[in-house]
Symmetry: C2
Subunit: 177 residues, 2 copies
DNA sequence: TCGGTCATGTAATGGGTTACATGATTTT
DNA sequence: AAAATCATGTAACCCATTACATGACCGA
């Protein structure tokens, strides 16, 4: 149900075509809620049918510029304020951890060490990104900074955990030998 | 593609029926990779057709006991060791953060404070769970502990972040007034 | 014999991904 | 004139969820 709200949310920054929105998805929401072209055009059709957005203008090449309606805005606010967010229920990374016993301890450690490395790399990218983001460009930047900080803390946590876990495996291995 | 590997993984602990596996999914994998009954029976059919599992025995009430084949075991190990895990690409919680500007600062803070509360509650449950888990029951417990620790660290991080973020909103609000 | 639980299956629906398909407009 | 970009739409497929449907076996 969240593509709907992501779309409405982006439209609160002003009217836009499907094509425009697609770019906004790629630029700003790629890491929290990606959307494909195919999906987005379908969603815009549904939102228009439901009266949450309207075609405010038509341009060249069949361009349709969508605008959020008061109903759409109300729906977005309702979702933000009243509907409790659904936590992520799946983690492929952790699923693998459950079955690491199928590998040799060496391979298990390698997996965990790789997680630590990937997390460290992500951290570096995020820190880089943090310096390039204009601290006061638009309202998205205010809350976008909070999201960036979350990602930073997440990757730190992941790196520390993976390092610790690799060590635990090492310890268990030595204990057995 | 991961239901396949979750199923194969559970079958490495011994042959089981769809019914049995469903309970294992609920007991141990509920928080990393949930599966519904409908989905699981379909998957077992596909795995059998692909030769990754076989019907090792048939029992009363049409019970089919599945066992992992050498091919299935190879596939599982290949997935664990050679296929890089796909990170979670979507976070409803963070998507909402991007649009918190649509709410009043008070409501935005409330949202973040709620995240902190929920994270703290989760933490308490996990700590409780940690005490009840037998430290040396089977191989799943060894790596299950790593997953539990991840969840614990995650909820700590989330609580700290949400508290910090609520404070940032407060500060921004005061700065403007 | 009655209720619980064991046990399997199908159908409908929704969300997501990839690929196919087409064409107008602008820029070089 | 050609290439890049703008712009929309559809079809096929996979995965997941909910609901429906059925019936055998076991213990009290």
């Amino acid at each position: 149900m969240s593509l709907k709200h992501a779309t409405l949310g982006l439209l609160t920054y002003g009217p836009a075509s499907g094509y425009d929105l697609l770019q906004k998805f790629r630029e700003s929401l790629a890491n929290v809620w990606p959307a494909t072209q195919s999906q987005l055009y379908g969603e815009l059709g549904k939102l228009a049918a439901a009266g949450l957005v309207t075609v405010a203008a038509e341009g060249p090449r069949g361009r349709k510029e969508y605008a959020i309606t008061p109903e759409g805005s109300a729906e977005l606010r309702h979702w933000l304020g009243e509907v409790p967010p659904a936590p992520n229920r799946r983690s492929e990374m952790l699923l693998r951890v459950f079955f690491l016993g199928m590998l040799t301890p060496e391979q298990a450690r390698e997996y965990l060490d790789d997680r630590a490395t990937v997390a460290a790399e992500l951290q570096a990218e995020l820190r880089e990104l943090a310096t390039t983001v204009d601290p006061d460009s638009g309202p998205l930047a205010v809350y976008g900074r909070l999201a960036l900080e979350w990602a930073l803390r997440f990757s730190v946590m992941q790196e520390e955990w993976a390092t610790w876990a690799a060590d635990e495996v090492r310890r268990a291995q030595e204990g057995v030998e």
